[in-house]
Amino acid sequence: MKRKFKTMDANEAVANVAYRLNEVIAIYPITPSSAMGEWADQWAAEGVPNIWGTVPQVTEMQSEGGAAGAVHGALQTGALATTFTASQGLLLMIPNMNKIAGELTPTAFHVSARTVATHALSIFGDHSDVMSCRTTGFAMLCSNSVQEAMDMALIAHAAALESRIPFLHFFDGFRTSHEVNKIEMLTEDDMRALINMDRVFEHRQRALSPDHPVLRGTAQNPDVYFQAREAGNPCYAACPDKVQEVMDKFSQVVGRSYHLFEYSGAPDAERMIVMMGSGAEAAQETVECLNRYGEKVGLLKVRLYRPFSIKHFLAVLPVTVKKIAVLDRTKESGSAGEPLYLDIVNAISEGRNEHVVQLEPVVVGGRYGLSSKEFTPSMVKAVYENLADNPKNHFTIGINDDVSHTSLDYDPEFSIELEAVVRAMFYGLGADGTVGANKNSIKIIGENTDNYAQGYFVYDSKKSGAMTVSHLRFGPQPIHSSYLISKANFVACHQWIFLERYDMLSALVPGGVFLLNSPFGPDEVWDHLPVEVQSQLIAKKAKFYVIDAYQVARDAGMGSRMNTIMQACFFAISKVLPRDEAIEAIRQSIRDTYGKKGEEVVQKNLRAVEETLAHLFEISVPEKTTSRVRMPAPFSPKAPEYEREVLGAIYAGHGDELPVSAFPCDGTFPTGTAKWEKRNLALEIPVWDAKTCIQCGKCAMVCPHAVIRIKVYDSRELENAPPTFRSTEARDKEWQGMKYTIQVAPEDCTGCGICVDICPAKNKSETRLKAINMEPQPPLRAPESENWDFFLKVPELDRRKIKLTTIRQQQVQEPLFEFSGACSGCGETPYLKLLSQLFGERAIIANATGCSSIFGGNLPTTPWTKNAEGRGPAWSNSLFEDNAEFGLGFRVSIDKQTEFARELVHRLSASIGEDFADVLLSAPQNDEADIYEQRTRVGVLKQLLQQVESPEARQLLSVADMLVKKSVWIVGGDGWAYDIGYGGLDHVLASGLNVNLLVLDTEVYSNTGGQASKSTPRAAVAKFAAGGKPGRKKDLGLMAMSYGNVYVASVAMGAKDEHTLKAFLEAEAYEGPSLIIAYSHCIAHGINMTTAMSDQKIAVDSGQWLLYRYNPERVLAGDNSLLLDSRTPTRKVKEFMEQQMRFKMLTKSKPENANRLWQEAQHDAETRFELYEYLAQRKTAQPASDTKPNQNEKPALAMAERLGGTK
């Protein structure tokens, strides 16, 4: 039977096999493995059975540790179980892996190998995670390509059953996991042929069951543990042969052969590389090419890495080999060599000792490809050249190491790309449909023709306005080029703005095609191109095509999605398929892709295709450049040198060229760098109308990106103001006589429009306008930039003079969180901005992994910044699961250092002055004025200490800053707070320490693409809850309240902004643990992001989200601690749900579920409100006279009252 060819990535290919061979799948999402679990979840929801006719049970756990535990339990009770993970997630599974291997339980884990976080986190691929599992006793099987990933997935499961040893099957994260390639599908019959049912039944027989009970997990003592541990040796000894037997069976059934170690290249090679992973594909291509040119080189691919069979390795090692380079895609600091290198050195050494190996090859080791760093044929060549003469050991390849000088030089121009292969690069804007169109093109070509196709997609680190680069190859032979295209014969630019930012033409080969989506017609486009682009087109004699895709899309009713249009252009120009065939194939794929989404969508897309070819023009490239337009520098020229040279280079896409010396040794970076980016994303920006404005401050408060700022200042500052700078009289009576300006940063705005939506003022003469209105950005860019620069120089109002209890005044505080890479209209960022305004200059933030850590800390820039005095939030992301504990560590450390400082002040009081010491130690620090004074005192103290010669003085100098109060914030999303980090969060709440926890609750795992968390409300659709979340949302606030000494607030800025402000003030003032749960709207809710903030009112009015403050201090005044700030619901939750696609889509996919769940959700809201109403109204017992909610002298309640925090 002829097998089908399909195009897909490795995640899908592996999931395909793993799903069919298992009964229980327990997972936790982590990039880049999440898709495997999502496929499994989708198929289970659709009722797709495994090869035994039953539908696997897919369960999302609270962490990878939980997933491993669940898998362990499932296996131990006789089910066939698996999981998918990567990186830190895999590390969290290690304790269970040791147990599973120790108990000789067959299973296969599938890992899209990803970097383990060290000085930084990386979502990209290398072997550091799987290498951390070498000691677990799991077998390790490596795939180098998408086809191999599918094949090895089956081999792994079969071999595990045969050998009883659990398998870790891995393939490179992103490079293989996300590479789309044309593969031959394995059939269910193939799978049945490989799985020996006897082994399955034996597995079931060994299971824990009361029908034949056994004991496992005993505790053993020094007398027997060692022997018992060695008792499993025969299984490990037998394993390699068993794996080869399975591979041989696979070869018989399917036709592709694999071996534990595979040699390819010259049979009499003298130089050889040993490696595993996707890099081996590039190496193989290069070896073939080099040998064609007369070299004698070879490549040894490692497939079964554990158990490492020296016998099998030596059997394929050619006797002619004199020099071996072992390449490791990991780094083990402190080790004498990387893992694979050490294994090979050992294998040769043992081989020699047993007289198997005659020669003594020189073995050197090198590192490559960390975090998906490119590994290209030119680098492979360099490795062989290094071997030729006096080989360098412990080298690196692919970077320029000018610090430790480990790197090898390589020639980046060396290319082995074949002429017959179409190599196309597409530069698109995230969410404009470019990537989808390309994946579609690959499908069309791969599945409709005999051609092979490969696609790899490079995304941006920003969540909005991001650039995507698609690398597509098409050719008559299978494509093994596991690296990006550097010599493209087709380059398409789908966004005009990229011409100014990125050098897209350097990759174009002479005579290649450049396709541009241009708003300028064929007669004027040439003159609008930057001169750098013109000169490249001329030099390369490129063929130049343009189309106004946005116009065609708009005319066809497609809005801004121009995917099908650009796709049609590509086919028409590249002639990969004959034009008519290509267009027909596109039409068919439109019906296939969009058919289920409605005829309307299909028709629009078909219309777009019809119009495309009529609007595609070829431009003849003139002889000379004519343009006066130059590409601007990536970073503002005002940026400091480091920011410009290093971060600017990264921002412009030249990060690869930066040498090691450009980087800090410990992962520390400056703050305040996002301001240099000037992304110019917005087509329209808000413009302030001073006359209509009522100066409420709401626009500034809700702006996710801090591009709207307010200043109040003396009129003298207006001297030398730019001509269009706007200002008016301040209305607040405390600011009488002063000037007021709302200024927008025109180049940083993302155009979300939330400010306009929230503005309550209406222009009386032109009724459709408000006090802030959107207008086209381009004409405003220059004048408003000038205004912005001027605005920044206007001094900030003295913080001591700002009344924090009203938004009108509070929003004048300088934000120390600006211009993040968050999605346009993000719901989380306004809370962080508020935090930074109120407490930023004395805040230390522990940020959990998630959206906030990505937009908060993804290189090259960070939105966290400093004020003019150089103070601002200190920020760090540790891990996902440890964030609360990380922050607790901050607090304990700061408290200790403060205590020490106080002790030292006491001890040094004679030297610094008794009175001064007294004031230092007893001064209150309750408000901005107090803190200002204490800071001044500490400044004086430091000066005095300079004159005191003593070790104690030096100590005090090092901790003197601790005498000024510090604000510790523990921030993260609901994935952290409700699930993986809950244990830590709970412990921190129980600790009684003075920390503030801010949960940015999007009710779903936003950062990893919308998986359900325990915060997801009933009836919401999310990944792993495709049929609507069946259960209620976990009530984190209620659980926290049960401690009695935790301040808990539930807020929603869009519903009641002043309430949110109060809660932040009270939380900080409370001397104990404070928890703020902040409703954060998110793109994963499927909502209109412009009205999202004001739509929060419906959430509160319907009772779906309650507003409350539980303040333990209230008890001192004889009040109930809980203050329910929400009114009795006046709307049904249905009204809230109808606004959001995450609820609404259920009515289209599973209407019966929707009916039932929506009713239950209404009931939830009603009963929850009743409960809270009861809790808030009941009479509470007075506290015992000698108990206080906290140990400090001044009740926080009174403190908060001074700040105006409570009612």
Binding site: A431, G436, S464, K596, E600
Partner: protein
Amino acid sequence: MIDLRTTYLGLELRTPLVASASPLSQELDGIRRLEDAGASAVVLYSLFEEQLRQEAMELEHHLSAGTESFAESLTYLPRHSEFRTGPEAYLNHIRKAKQAIDIPIIASLNGATLGGWTQHAEQMEQAGVDAIECNVYFIPTDPNVPGSEVEMAYIDILRAIKIAVHIPVAVKLSPFFSNMANMAMRLDQTGANGLVLFNRFYQPDINLEELELRPNILLSTPQAIDLPVPASVRLSGRQSCPRQIIHIIHTHTQKACDAYHTVVSISN
């Protein structure tokens, strides 16, 4: 006992009271109650083709918003292979309603495209409905469209549907035709089995304080009969197809959106 039986659209009715299109028929329970209360047939709430199209576009928009942009979250919502963005819910409702009651069910259709009219009408016929009421509900806003074109649109729609289905077809009319008698005659000639007089359009309001559109449903008053009765009298005796007058009775009972229709059959 007076014999109140009559026929409408060729259907045998036990009384001249037909429940016209309203939200009451959105729930099966509502339909049963209408039957229990004595209605002789139920016209279901309208299926709006534009609404289906809008929902499909909205779903597509949200499923693709923000996708393929950031490597960790290439999509935000689960892929479903099946989305029912077409008229399936309505058609299922027809099927269930047919099983639930004995009196005839008439589907009400508001199409937006000619293809939509005929396709949905066919689907409704296949679902087992007894007749179709074309709720044309066309509000002309383009000053370049003359009245004759508006009238032609009604004729074309009717003609297309009559070709597509075998079950009876009624046309619900607005009162704003220049010569209602002429319109009725032409529709009759095109094959209409019934004319429904008249459609009452929603009357949205504008809140002058907020400058916001306020949707508005004004229930009819007893005076509303003044329009269709004389019209019907004028038409009597001149057409072969029976006409029904929609007489909206102002009711002081129960929910806000109830509307009962009197069927007066005037036949030759």
